[in-house]
């Protein structure tokens, strides 16, 4: 017997006593730690993706948030913008090709509901496929549901990879969650009025669950009303008459319960079928969308190299640009992972360029825009038609660290990409994509 092998010397007993005490203390500590106040987690991981994925996959731009700011429950926020999908050679290996993609918003859980969503003006109830090297415009209409301060982003979910999150804007929602309503109609002829989708048939669901719980408890009580565990265990082990363990009355109860279960189950299903004869299977499938027409800008851009300087928090991107258009083009912006590095307006030549530039940055969330873009070596002037020039673009700002893009230093893939914007002399704005391997400077 195990009991005989126990050493009951004083030393061992003392050891066991101390171990038990430590274990008890640890259990209490863990239990109390679970009740410590925790601050609300506002973020939802938008800065935690690898920089090389964020800078080289989907680039969100020309974003607008209408209705954000201080709003009430049930108010609408409309997010519009464009998404550029870099070409295959630049598309990061760590993200699946966007053959099955889904447009939605990201926020901390379901604090906003999605009312409408469009890509290329097509309703996006279902997923779609995107072409690389092309730009798509999208629109999301969200309705405030939960009071609080929420950061709302557009997001593309890519099958096989997960969400690529665009830039977000803060919305401070006040009011009561209980005031939220998402109404509508359903049924072949719209005969079912849905007052609020978030409570639709909830009483009915709770009622059915409660009914089955009651029947389940009746069954369990029937058995445990008598001495249960140890007497029955002893009876089984010691071979008492089986008719005492399961009596004839028990069997009758079993028949009754079987009839009750089958009657309720089949009757309930038939009743539901008669009430809802016209039902559909869950809907799925890809809805095709078209990208925006290609911009006829005549700019050819090639990333040569890039360098991130840790001490200066500065990214330097060297690009070769050939202007094959008949217009003079000037660099106005480098945008990556939703962060916009723009030149100072007075560095742009011509009123048309300055007006376009000012319009593009007007109202953009301050956390994503920095007027720090410079062109080194004094070559910031517009690139003339037919000219070939190498630009050294420098974006120096702490936002590289704030947005976790400086984590590129620790990334297994040190490559930087982003949109380089040009404005021609007529004020037309064009976007191109450049990408290059990234060196790290430590001083």
């Amino acid at each position: 017997m195990q009991k005989n092998e126990i050493n009951t010397t004083n030393a061992s007993a003392g050891l066991i006593g101390r171990q038990s005490w430590y274990a008890l203390m640890m259990m209490l500590a863990i239990t109390f730690a679970a009740f410590l106040p925790a601050s609300t987690a506002w973020g939802h991981g938008e800065r935690m993706h690898s920089p090389s994925l964020r800078m080289r996959s989907i680039q969100f731009f020309d974003m607008k948030w209408e209705g954000a700011g201080d709003i009430q429950v049930n108010d609408l926020v409309t997010i519009t913008g464009k998404m550029f999908f870099p070409k295959t050679e630049h598309w990061p290996k760590g993200v699946e090709l966007p053959k099955v993609s889904y447009l939605q918003s990201s926020g901390p859980a379901s604090v906003f509901t999605k009312v409408e969503s469009y890509i290329d003006d097509k309703p996006m109830v279902q997923s779609t496929g995107m072409k690389l090297g092309r730009t798509y415009q999208f629109k999301l209409v969200m309705k405030a549901r939960v009071p609080g301060a929420w950061h709302i982003h557009p997001t593309i979910q890519i099958a096989g990879s997960g969400p690529i999150v665009g830039p977000g804007e803060w919305a401070t929602v006040s009011g009561e969650m209980s005031d939220f309503k998402q109404s509508g109609v359903a049924g072949i002829d719209g005969e079912v009025i849905i007052d609020d989708l978030s409570t639709y048939t909830l009483d009915f669901i709770i009622g059915w669950h409660a009914l089955w719980f009651v029947i389940g408890f009746i069954w369990l009580f029937w058995w445990i009303r008598r001495p249960t565990l140890l007497p029955r265990y002893r009876a089984v082990q010691e071979g008492v008459d089986k008719k005492l363990l399961v009596t004839a009355t028990d069997k009758k109860m079993g028949f009754v319960m079987l009839i009750v279960v089958l009657t309720l189950t089949i009757g309930g299903a038939l009743n539901a079928n008669s009430k809802h004869p016209d039902i559909l299977p869950l809907q799925s499938g890809l809805a095709p969308v078209e990208p925006l027409p290609l911009q006829n800008h005549g700019i050819k851009i090639l990333g040569v190299n890039s360098q991130y300087n840790i001490a200066r928090r500065a990214m330097t991107l060297e690009v070769e640009v050939t202007n094959e258009s008949d217009k003079a083009m000037q660099i106005s912006e480098f945008a990556t992972a939703g962060i916009r590095f723009v030149v100072a307006s007075d560095e742009l030549d011509g009123a048309a360029r300055r007006a376009t530039h000012a319009k593009s940055i007007d109202g953009y969330p301050v956390e994503y825009i920095r007027e720090v873009l410079t062109i080194e070596d004094g070559s910031a002037s517009p690139i003339l038609p037919g000219e070939h020039r190498t630009f050294t673009i420098v974006a120096a700002d702490a936002v590289w660290e704030i947005q976790n893009l400086s984590e590129l230093v620790l990334s297994p893939v040190r490559r930087t990409g982003g949109l380089v914007f040009f404005i021609d002399e007529d004020g037309k704005r064009y976007h191109t994509f450049a990408e290059a391997g990234t060196d790290i400077a430590y001083d």
Partner: protein
């Protein structure tokens, strides 16, 4: 106080002994239900998972199949233990009641209060009717084989039928931006999930596997067929677990005890109760 229970009388228990066992029941049964429920809940979340979490995952093709397989693994073992140890046909019902109770707690606290998903999107499917059906088949037949071949075979069918009254209102058509979808699709579209968007719903498509209009029926039968073997396997494992084994603790030296002999063997403990001794 005298008890009139036939089993305790047959075992010649004293009133005090019977009373002590009753107190034991009062403490151990609730603890057993909570522990079983918690363990089953984790298992069910990890295996049936999204099919049970979301109203727009409860499809005709995979939901009956995955749910039944996942449920049977755990519930068959509990049913086997209750039957072999105490000869009570309540194991599956205990597992189902505990699981659904834990699910409601989780859906309310985690999904609704913490993550703001409405309960209409995250209500759990009930298993109690299907579990009662199988337990009653076990009681009436008294046979493990009949329970597996008849009870478990129809387990997914009873599961789907008993949930259908709750699910049917979510399958009626509605229109979202001019597209006809089910109300369940609309719920999933409206109350967004960060990590499980439309493309991740592994739902039936208009392919060969849809099997005409009989998807429910075929899927339930396939789920039942697979579950028969799962039930048999886990009932068998429960049988092994129900046998009281003991062996010398190999870590005894680290716990303050004497080190056991190296050639100590695993032994099956034989129960030698007073009643059995008297019969001998």
């Amino acid at each position: 106080m005298a008890y009139s229970d036939a089993i305790t009388q047959e075992l010649n228990m004293s009133t005090n002994e019977e009373k002590a066992y009753r107190y034991f029941d009062m403490f151990v049964i609730p603890i057993t239900v909570v522990v079983l429920g918690a363990a089953f809940h984790i298992h069910y979340m990890l295996t049936a998972g999204d099919w049970d979490f979301w109203v727009d995952w409860k499809d005709r093709l995979y939901w009956p199949l995955t749910s039944a397989i996942s449920f049977t693994i755990f519930a068959a073992a509990v049913q086997g233990l209750f039957w072999k140890l105490v000869r009570m046909p309540i194991g599956m019902t205990v597992a189902a009641v505990a699981l659904i109770a834990m699910e409601w707690i989780s859906r309310y606290l985690n999904f609704y209060l913490w993550a703001y998903f409405p309960l209409t999107e995250v209500w759990p499917a009930t298993w109690i009717a299907a579990a009662l059906f199988v337990d009653c088949v076990l009681l009436v037949s008294g046979s493990f084989l009949v329970t597996a071949m008849v009870g478990v075979f129809f387990l997914p069918t009873i599961f789907v039928l008993s949930n259908y009254p709750m699910l049917a209102p979510f399958r009626i058509p509605t229109s979202v931006m001019g597209q006809e979808v089910t109300v369940a699709d609309w719920v999933g579209y409206t109350f967004q999930r960060g990590g499980s968007p439309e493309y991740l719903r592994i739902i039936e498509s208009s392919g060969m596997r849809v099997l005409g209009a009989e998807t429910w029926f075929i899927s339930c039968l396939l789920g039942g067929f697979v579950s028969i073997f799962i039930h048999m396997g886990w009932w068998g494992i429960a049988g092994i677990a129900a046998r009281p084994y003991s062996r010398a603790n190999p870590l005894a030296a680290y716990m303050g005890y004497d080190e056991p002999d190296e050639d100590a063997e695993i032994v099956i403990d034989e129960y030698e109760g007073a009643y059995k001794s008297e019969k001998k």
